[in-house]
């Protein structure tokens, strides 16, 4: 007993000291790594404040090309597949954080002076436009960008398109049958009284998908006011505005709602992953679409690796990875194989979507959405 209590105190001290060493090593990605690059790294002078940091892994040091942190906006499994493939190809230890596009933009703003990410991959181009306007991105014209059509990249090289997706209606066939409603093929079909509480979309403040849907109304109806009139009517039938863009598709898959307004490729993905009752349809008045972007972040801690990432994601080979994890976005590289499950853009009417204008109006529109739509009585 006498000996034990001092032991307790020293044990705590020990634990705290161990923490200093244990935590950074635990922060490395769990995947096994070729240790070959480690010795080539010069001793870093980062974080001189802590004595036990002598053994810090290079993750926190201003290294050139041994690590990469990706801000990833598409579905989690695609993020994983991409970072794994890149790591296998280059030996660069690649980790990612998946954030929906609104969150991603917020996180970049928060870390403006000291970015935690080097490259941003995926998510609609309008958020990239907003990020460019706020000075969060660094221009980089990849040699591989030449293959990408001009309409799918920023002329100054602030962002480059990596995939294209069209917004659609994702319907649960069984629920529609029970309600006696036909598969919707017009925006006005969603206003059907029988669909009360049977439609869901995400909240435009946190989701790029939802913002695309809102901006599509602006383009299609010709003005912001007309768009809000439509959204107010639609609000009567909306069950919930979710945080993440694809979540309404999962609600449809669970049979909680009849129709989700999401990107059609997400709907096909869910259908393939165990919800065969899901069906895609497109509004005949025209629908919005997204160009998924990739961009170098200003002040990136790992600029070399980030540029390698951008070069790589523009190749046909990298763009074919999506389909292997059932992410059926259309590749932007014309040489990449297109999956049969992907949408044929030739069969869908697209609205004339102005990414620059959409990106600029984002803040005003999301605030107006919150003030006018979310509180409106049903």
């Amino acid at each position: 007993m006498y000996r034990k209590t001092p032991f307790l105190f020293s044990a705590v001290t020990l634990v705290i000291l161990l923490a200093a060493c244990a935590v950074p090593s635990a922060t490395q990605p769990p995947a096994a790594q070729p240790p070959a690059e480690q010795p080539t790294t010069p001793p870093q002078e980062a974080a001189p404040t802590q004595a036990p940091q002598a053994e810090l892994p290079p993750a926190q040091a201003p290294e050139k090309s041994s690590t990469l942190t990706v801000l990833c906006t598409p579905q989690e499994d695609w993020c994983q597949a991409m970072t794994r493939a890149f790591e296998a190809e280059t030996g660069i230890k690649t980790s990612y954080v998946r954030l929906s596009s609104g969150e991603a933009l917020a996180r970049l703003r928060a870390g403006k002076d000291n970015p935690e990410f080097s490259v941003w991959w995926g998510g609609p181009a309008d958020t990239y436009v907003a990020a460019k306007a706020e000075g969060l991105l660094e221009p980089y014209i990849s040699p591989n960008a030449a293959a990408i059509p001009d309409s799918q990249k920023d002329p100054e090289g602030y962002w480059t398109g990596v995939y294209v997706g069209a917004l659609g209606f994702c319907s649960n066939r069984d629920v529609l049958a029970k309600l006696g409603v036909e598969k919707p093929d017009s925006w006005d079909d969603l206003l059907d009284e029988r669909l009360k509480g049977q439609v869901a979309m995400a909240h435009p403040a946190s989701s790029g998908t939802a913002y695309t849907a809102v901006w599509t109304q602006v383009v299609r109806l010709g003005s912001v006011d007309a768009a809000f009139d439509y959204l107010k009517k639609l609000h009567n039938n909306i069950l919930q505005y979710t945080k993440s863009g694809a979540a309404p598709g999962q609600m449809a898959a669970r049979g909680e709602i009849a129709v989700a307004i999401i990107f059609s490729h997400d709907c096909v993905k869910f259908a393939d992953e165990g919800a065969p009752m899901l069906e895609v349809s497109f509004p005949k008045e025209g629908t919005g679409y997204e160009i998924g972007g990739v961009a170098l972040i200003k002040g990136a801690p790992e600029p070399e690796a980030a540029k390698m990432w951008i070069d790589w994601v523009l190749t046909a080979k990298a763009q074919e990875i999506g389909a292997t994890v059932k992410s059926y976005q259309l590749p932007t590289n014309p040489e990449a194989k297109v999956s049969e499950r992907s949408v044929k853009l030739s069969e869908v009417k697209l609205v004339d979507y102005d990414f620059i204008e959409a990106g600029k109006s984002r803040k005003a529109i999301t605030q107006r959405f919150e003030d006018e739509i979310t509180v409106a009585p049903k």
């Binding site: 209590t5 705290i16 200093a20 935690e116 898959a253």
Partner: protein, 582 residues
């Protein structure tokens, strides 16, 4: 102790010996002083500083503009009303359920297995992340719910206030149950007996004797639940639907807009009712002890055996307990099927997703950080309890209050406070005392900030159980030790700590469970280098991948249960006296 003071004509050797002795005494006594200093410094840095940072941002000129804007927009009036309505319904329902459980447990004649069953049901929510219930509730009672729709054909709308009330009542009633159960056990049954002897019926007795004595306890449980309900973030995020409350709006301000000023302003709106009610509760809880002045309960009262009363009471409690187990059963089953209720094929895919991807890292990080926070929080709780109960200085009440703020303040506010306070290196008089703790390039990938939050959130419970334990120990035991020549730290180590070992043990368990299940306070503090399980669960839930979320929850609960098992083996619940005997 004073013998060594003052010069006396001693030989050099004796003087030297005496000098080192007194120095050692001073050092040993000063270790208590150091303990006090450490406690004050920790509370000051980890609790008060972030709060001050939030307040000063909210009351800056920029904050005033945001506040004016917030108060002018009708959407925020709705949000504030929603928040209060949610607090009210959850506090009412939770207190009722807690009271029912406590009453059946203490006052009703029922088979022992039934009592154990409902007791366990009341404790299960402690070891699971609070919003796990919400996810299961969608599967069970949602639009296409297993029970509501597929069994009974009802199209219920669980998103919004009714659903939130249901899941938050089931997640939080434990607080009310434990408070009221303790109070009921402590009530002197002779008062009831006196009333019965005077001819009062059971109901009359309950209304005029028992209930008035319980009122302060009931009020205190109600207020605690109210504070917990308006502070909760996970459940409203998952199940709120279009029912926005302050906590979720605050979350959107940070996550969707990264507007720290708006976050700080909304924090203050949330902080005012939370703190006011918490203080009211504290006053009530301390005044409630007046009741027990009648002395220790003189034996157990008669249990209720009247079938007209026992059947509805026990039946009601059993039904709710069954509901709790049904929900956790749903989580367990849901972890092993493709999509519960839609595609019930058995699969290990969910666990594969969790264990193969970044989930493994989240599991390791979270467990490791919780393991770090646990001993510190428990020990800090005991030390502060000792200082508060036995200390003879005025600052002790301030220290007590400051520590309790760690739990009285909603977690989201600490999240914002930490971002505001620690996003740049902390400097005192131009000297850097703390490096950058949050955001990009934070030390240890932000892990230090997370551990600090874990500690401040779990120390208050340790403090309270330590205070309760110490108040039962007659100070004369310590005085005896001191008059036999033991210094205060020696007394603390050899007399006090062994005597309060059970309290120490329970606060270790609490600290670990609390850390593993914390959501709202750490959501803003995770970084690419540090992943936390509760956040991953929330992500999976939000993306609609419920199977993965369930798999995470199952693993999390398993880790907590294993840790509790290991703790009871290594620390043990025996007091020091029992150890000496062994």
């Amino acid at each position: 102790m004073d013998a060594s003071l003052g010069p006396s004509p001693l030989s050099r050797a004796r003087f030297l010996r005496s000098f080192t002795h007194s120095l050692r005494l001073l050092l040993r006594d000063s270790s208590l002083l150091i303990a006090f200093g450490v406690a004050v410094a920790f509370v000051g840095i980890a609790v008060l500083y972030p709060l001050v940072a939030t307040l000063s941002r909210a009351f800056s000129a920029e904050g005033a503009a945001v506040l004016a804007n917030v108060l002018a927009r009708p959407v925020f009036h709705r949000i504030i009303l929603n928040t209060l309505a949610l607090g009210l319904t959850v506090a009412t329902a939770g207190t009722l359920v807690g009271f029912l459980f406590a009453w059946v447990q203490v006052r009703v004649a029922a088979p022992q297995w039934i009592k154990r069953f409902i007791h366990t049901a009341a404790l299960v929510p402690v070891v699971s992340p609070p919003f796990a219930v919400a996810v299961a509730a969608i599967v069970l009672f949602g639009r296409n719910g297993l029970l509501t729709y597929q069994l009974f054909g009802l199209r219920t709308d669980i998103y919004g206030l009714p659903g939130l009330t249901l899941v938050m009542t089931l997640s939080f009633f434990t607080v009310a149950y434990l408070t009221l159960r303790g109070l009921l056990y402590g009530l002197d049954p002779s008062l009831d007996e006196a009333a019965a002897n005077l001819g009062a019926g059971r109901w009359h007795q309950f209304r005029t004797v028992t209930l008035p004595m319980l009122l302060p306890g009931i009020a205190s449980a109600f207020l605690l639940l109210f504070v917990e309900a308006i502070a909760d973030l996970g459940n409203p995020l998952v199940l709120g639907g279009n029912y926005t409350v302050l906590a979720t709006r605050l979350y959107l301000a940070i996550i969707g807009e990264y507007d720290l000023t708006a976050g700080a302003v909304l924090s203050v709106l949330l902080l005012v009712p939370s703190l006011a009610l918490y203080l009211l509760q504290w006053r009530l809880a301390t005044s409630a002890s007046v009741v027990s002045i009648t002395g220790k309960p003189s034996g157990r009262g008669r249990l209720i055996t009247d079938k007209r009363a026992t059947i509805p009471l026990v039946g009601g409690a059993l039904l709710i307990a069954a509901l709790v187990f049904l929900i956790y059963g749903t989580i367990l089953v849901g972890a092993f099927v493709v999509s519960l209720g839609v595609n019930n094929a058995l699969t290990l895919r969910n666990f594969e997703f969790v264990l193969v991807g970044y989930g493994a890292k989240a599991i390791i990080d979270t467990t490791l950080l919780s393991l770090l926070a646990t001993p510190v929080a428990a020990l800090l709780g005991m030390v502060i309890a000792f200082l508060v109960v036995r200390g003879k200085f005025h600052a002790r009440n301030a220290l007590d209050f400051g520590t309790m703020l760690g739990i009285a303040v909603p977690g989201t506010i600490f999240g914002i406070g930490y971002l505001l306070a620690f996003n740049t290196p902390t400097e005192v008089l131009g000297i850097t005392v703390l490096p950058k703790l949050t955001g990009g390039a934070a030390v240890f990938g932000g892990a230090l900030a997370i551990v600090m939050v874990y500690i401040i959130r779990s120390t208050p419970a340790g403090l309270r159980s330590g205070v309760a334990a110490l108040q039962q120990i007659d100070p004369s035991i310590e005085e005896a030790a001191v008059s036999l020549g033991g210094s205060r730290p020696t007394t603390f180590r050899r007399i006090v700590l062994p005597l309060i070992r059970p309290a120490f043990f329970s606060s270790l368990i609490y600290a670990f469970a609390r850390s593993m299940t914390t959501v709202s306070a750490i959501l803003f503090l995770t970084t690419p280098q540090t992943r936390i399980m509760t956040q991953q669960i929330l992500n999976e839930t939000d993306a609609g991948r419920f199977g993965n979320a369930f798999a995470y929850v199952v693993i999390l609960i398993a880790i907590v249960l294993v840790a509790i098992g290991l703790l009871s083996i290594f620390v043990g619940t025996r007091t020091g006296a029992e150890r000496e005997a062994a």
